[in-house]
Symmetry: C2
Subunit: 598 residues, 2 copies
Amino acid sequence: MSDYNAPLADMRFVLGEIAGLKEIADLPGYEEATPDLAEAILTEAGRLAKDVLAPLNRTGDQEGCTLENGAVRMPKGFPEAYRLFVEGGWGSLPFDPEHGGQGLPWTLSIAVQEMWSAANLSFSLAPLLTQGAVESLQVHGTAEQKTAYLPNMISGRWSGTMNLTEPQAGSDVGALKTRAVKQDDHYLITGQKIFITWGDHDCAENIVHMVLARTPDAPAGTRGISLFIVPKFLPKEDGTLGARNDLRCVSLEHKLGIHASPTAVMAYGDSGGAIGYLLGEENQGMACMFTMMNNARISVGVQGLAIAERAYQQARDFARERIQSRAIDSKDAGGVAIIQHPDVRRTLMTMKASVEAMRALAYLAAATLDKAKRAPEAGERAAAQARIDLLTPLVKSWLTDCGCEIASLGVQVHGGMGFIEESGAAQHYRDARILPIYEGTNGIQAMDLVCRKLPLGNGDVMQGYLAELDATVADVAASNAPDFGQMAERLAQSVDALRRSSEWMAQAVVRRPEAALAGATDYLRVFGLTAGAVYLARGALYVQRQSGDDGIVMPGKRYVALARYFAEHLSVETAGLATSVMSGGDAVLMLSPGQLSA
Amino acid sequence: MSDYNAPLADMRFVLGEIAGLKEIADLPGYEEATPDLAEAILTEAGRLAKDVLAPLNRTGDQEGCTLENGAVRMPKGFPEAYRLFVEGGWGSLPFDPEHGGQGLPWTLSIAVQEMWSAANLSFSLAPLLTQGAVESLQVHGTAEQKTAYLPNMISGRWSGTMNLTEPQAGSDVGALKTRAVKQDDHYLITGQKIFITWGDHDCAENIVHMVLARTPDAPAGTRGISLFIVPKFLPKEDGTLGARNDLRCVSLEHKLGIHASPTAVMAYGDSGGAIGYLLGEENQGMACMFTMMNNARISVGVQGLAIAERAYQQARDFARERIQSRAIDSKDAGGVAIIQHPDVRRTLMTMKASVEAMRALAYLAAATLDKAKRAPEAGERAAAQARIDLLTPLVKSWLTDCGCEIASLGVQVHGGMGFIEESGAAQHYRDARILPIYEGTNGIQAMDLVCRKLPLGNGDVMQGYLAELDATVADVAASNAPDFGQMAERLAQSVDALRRSSEWMAQAVVRRPEAALAGATDYLRVFGLTAGAVYLARGALYVQRQSGDDGIVMPGKRYVALARYFAEHLSVETAGLATSVMSGGDAVLMLSPGQLSA
């Protein structure tokens, strides 16, 4: 089992040269994010991730969470680690200084989140869920609600949850049945919620559940859903904790992975009704929930990146140490480290090049989020918001699909040892598998991309994005760098595949929605591979511009090699995928469900 | 958790119309394999798989194997199931009637093996390992050895193991250190072996370990390895069991999956030396071991097929029952079974089309094995042997890679429930992950394909194979079946990608072996996707030829749809992969191991 070391050099490069952290720090309100502060934060976060969180990853997996007398006990070390996390103020980075936040850019916060998730995916879910609840309160809360909840939640002394799912209502949120009946200044909530991440635990003083429920006369479906603040302990006027609310964890799921993240079945109102406070307005719950979910989707994408980085580090370290077989070009009968073998090297290049493409996507998405919030001109903000709307399903899905694939490659590099739990590679493979599922399955994301995001601005949002990709392709073509190999040609083919399949999709989604949906997942993959390849190329171009008379040398050469590898070996998949998309779904739908399932 | 039902109709179709079981039954020695007998065997095997083995899959996973006082105790129900398996004569299907086998074709035996593996992957490893040991004894054993071991091993009363791996000797078998010192008519074996599947258990009366070891004056590397028969209990002259041999299981691995398959660390000779009998000749151990391994590689490929079929059945059944969200083309607000949603349908088509492609490859490989053994003309046998040599790494790798991917898709179809162990989908995902690793990692298989198999017969073996693929493509092009969609064009592109990358490989393996090895895994995938697409097309052509005036209708339409889906949506990946292969590995090798791992 290997350590986790935050890849600070790689992170700095992507933050600085691809996501443009300096430009972000120039936005009004982000002036605090000086290079010195950013550096200090990254370094300190890396230390906490390595020294405190990473060592609990395996023990947390083995021990898991236990439910005793209605209370969840976390694995050994988790409460203490959580305390250190809160004391360090790590949960407060991106939030409103008015309520105790540090007001730092998401761009920086996302890099730090990557570290928590890489070090300990289970642990990282606590701040992730709290963050979603905070966002929602910041946007939709009344002044009183903000005062009552935000300081303690931003500090992390109280954690947050999201309560959407019920047995019959998963992706179909509108099918939920939990009831909310108004009584005086509050509502009484009754119902059962499942899959509640960190639904109960012994790390925070209080847990603030954000619960979707339906008032008695609400319209059917998603238009009749409201969001409620349902704290475990009711805060008193003076801010101290009052009575225990009528809610409890009735069981924990036995899961494939993230064993140290308690996934609770929560019962509300078994003794008459849990007290809940309406957030926003009645029947506007979906809007409030999407405030939580959109950011959470970016963060889950970052988890995909994080588990991939962790799996890569572990595979690389193993490949450096494991001696097996002689090198192909050597007459020496002695064994070499398996990192010398071309097929292992190819696997590691696939892992690392994918990680860097994912990182570029994630950090750029965060920078776009910052612009959407803080750009001085309304037009700039709107453009950035449209861009992040477009990219959110991509970041959630493509990064988490890659996370699973790379965790699987990590197992493979270990050979037989990879299948043994002791090595730790298997845990990443298990943990990663939740990522394409939660926070909206990747199939739902693909549908969102195709049906809601591509048509944004009558297709202009996507056109503008493609034009930016074109510009990078032209720069690569003009660069004449021998180390770039066939990068220009491969990028041009990928962007062409994305453009053709986008145009096809724009038509299909109107005229043949079933065919569009049948191709949505392949289309999303074309998008991810193309965007990843182009962003890596931007980094390579930066390296080339910075290179002196000796041409491209280390350490910049490393990024160039990864960009080239991605273009020549991974993004080449795009043309075939575009062909699949544009086949139009006839073969997908040729058999009726009954015929398929015969 | 769903049942397993052997897909008898699909199996019959592939056996009959693609693998040509009738033709195989005409080979001398296989006359017993009448259609009636084949049908009876498939039906009865399906019953045992469903009623006895499948119900133990989940309980075996939960309970696992335990080591107590040096003896392994299997999970509840396993010894009884094994007894039924032996009593039914299921282990004896393909073996020599002279020693109690039924002398049936591998073609039929492989279909039955698929059922065992799909029903219970852990269980299926016992007969699989025994089969490898039997094969090796049949080919390399003396008359006395055959008499002493084969009847009991063919019946399954005794099981077999393969002992290759040592901590420092995994893929690099030549690095093994276990010692064998001659003494009278036997050898004394000392050393430790790891990863010994079914190394100890309480199902069979005796366990016959096939152990690779090195005699004192043996040359270094693989040329100095000998294979020994090392029984747990030494058989007496009269066939009864005698003394306990000096060997024991010292620990069991804690694994990601196949929890009901005991993976043992075996110690030989702790009390002076385990008694072993040389199989074949000294220093010829690798040849004897390859007799075991080549068949085992086909069987492991079949395990990939099997877990994919199981995952498919479970996902399909879940998708039929799970109600969630309205259909895209419906105004009705009510939810529908998720199998109605195009993205779920696409996923299921991917799973099922892949399963059928894998099945075609596996059964055809088995038919080729039968021809290599039984064809009347020496030339035919030699051609079949060359063909199966070529296809073995493909069947092992491509089918097991697909097995993992499809088990992962199976989890995804289940949404949140997929991540909960109770659903069973997660177990397939865990179990499947061993398949690309054991019996030679898939990276080793790709190397074998490129370095040893493509050059067979100076490249003529591959050329002959390509010519056969061309013929099918021409038939599809000539078919003019509207239901075939773009199948002809896509197949032609895939075969072209395989041909181009094969030609490139043939050059590279001589001139730039590092570049060849860097592309070997992608090349193998081009090969698998192309072969799979073409074999499915053969089935589709058969359906078309059988179709009457109404055109292609159910049930044949189902196979046509799968063939078309595979060609239009999955095999389209081949051109991009061929481009990756022919990029030549410059980007793979651009960074030195030190630079990559910085």
